[in-house]
């Protein structure tokens, strides 16, 4: 199980790289948008997986492989922190605060939305 979970995580990380590269090529935002898109979609999907698992007991394995593995590998906290720190060190404190707050708020709203979609 843990092997499957880790391999799903690798697939998630490669998906993050692909989405981030795709978004970065099209973005003209004043701060990096790729990680924001990745993390918010990850929260939506994890909410959906957790909600689904609540209504489908006995599928803890699916939840672990998709939630801890794939979506854990797809989302990233460290890159978000580095992006915030770089904005801060460049003297763009307001952009750093906005970047962190928008990601947190959008991530939480997405998580709740995902839960709501599958656990009704």
């Amino acid at each position: 199980m843990i092997v499957l979970l880790a391999l799903a995580g690798g697939l998630g990380a490669a998906s993050r790289f692909t989405v981030d590269t795709w978004v970065a090529r099209r973005s003209r935002a004043p701060f990096p948008l790729g990680t924001l898109v990745v993390n918010v979609t990850a929260c939506l999907l994890l909410g959906a997986v957790v909600g689904w698992a609540l209504t489908h007991p006995g599928h803890g394995g699916v939840r672990a492989v998709l939630g801890v593995g794939f979506l854990g590998g797809y989302s990233t906290f460290s890159t978000a922190s580095v992006e915030g720190a770089r904005l801060l060190l460049a003297g763009r404190g307001a952009a750093a605060a906005l970047h962190a707050l928008v990601m947190l708020a959008a991530g939480l709203v997405a998580a709740v939305a995902g839960l709501w979609l599958t656990s009704r």
Binding site: G9, G10, G73, T76
Partner: protein, 166 residues
């Protein structure tokens, strides 16, 4: 992994876009690193599931330490152009291992769970502390590594990525 070294003419460090031809190889490198990072996080999380209403220490520690390590790693790598060996290490260790090791989705669901279970104060404190300490850890690592490398005699010109020619 030498296949990841971009061809000589495209080695211009001014281009922010990765070489399109190298994308599948780069994604494979990220996947390999991500597998390792996710495995370490899963093993750490397996041994300590947080009780209801309790501070999620495992994810908290993983995210802050991961932010610190990624800040330090990127500060070292940015001493030279993002090609050749530097790009391999950035994608494999940074985007792969550390990106997969840390998690935003689990963090967000933990915050939601704390709030939904009636521990709104703990949830808000956990969210704020994770984000603020993550940025502080990454920033401290970037500044510290920068200072340390500035003090060392300049020998980086010798071991700069081979093959990036002009």
């Amino acid at each position: 992994m030498a296949a990841l070294t971009p061809p000589g003419h495209s080695g211009a460090p001014s281009s922010p876009l990765p070489d399109a031809l190298a994308l599948p190889a780069a994604a494979a490198l990220v996947a390999a690193g991500g597998t390792v990072g996710v495995l370490i996080r899963a093993l750490l999380a397996q041994s300590s599931a947080p009780a209801a209403g309790a501070w999620p220490w495992t994810t908290f520690g993983i995210n802050v330490v991961g932010s610190l390590l990624l800040g330090g790693l990127l500060a070292v790598l940015q001493r030279g152009p993002d090609v050749g060996r530097r790009r391999v290490v950035r994608l494999g260790l940074g985007t792969g291992v550390l990106g997969g090791f840390t998690t935003y989705s689990t963090f967000a669901l933990e915050v939601e769970q704390l709030v939904a279970d009636g521990h709104a104060v703990v949830g808000a404190a956990y969210a704020a502390a994770s984000v603020v300490l993550g940025i502080a850890a990454a920033g401290a690592a970037i500044v510290t590594v920068g200072h340390v490398l500035d003090r060392r005699p300049a020998r980086t010109a010798v071991d700069d990525a081979p093959g990036d020619g002009s």
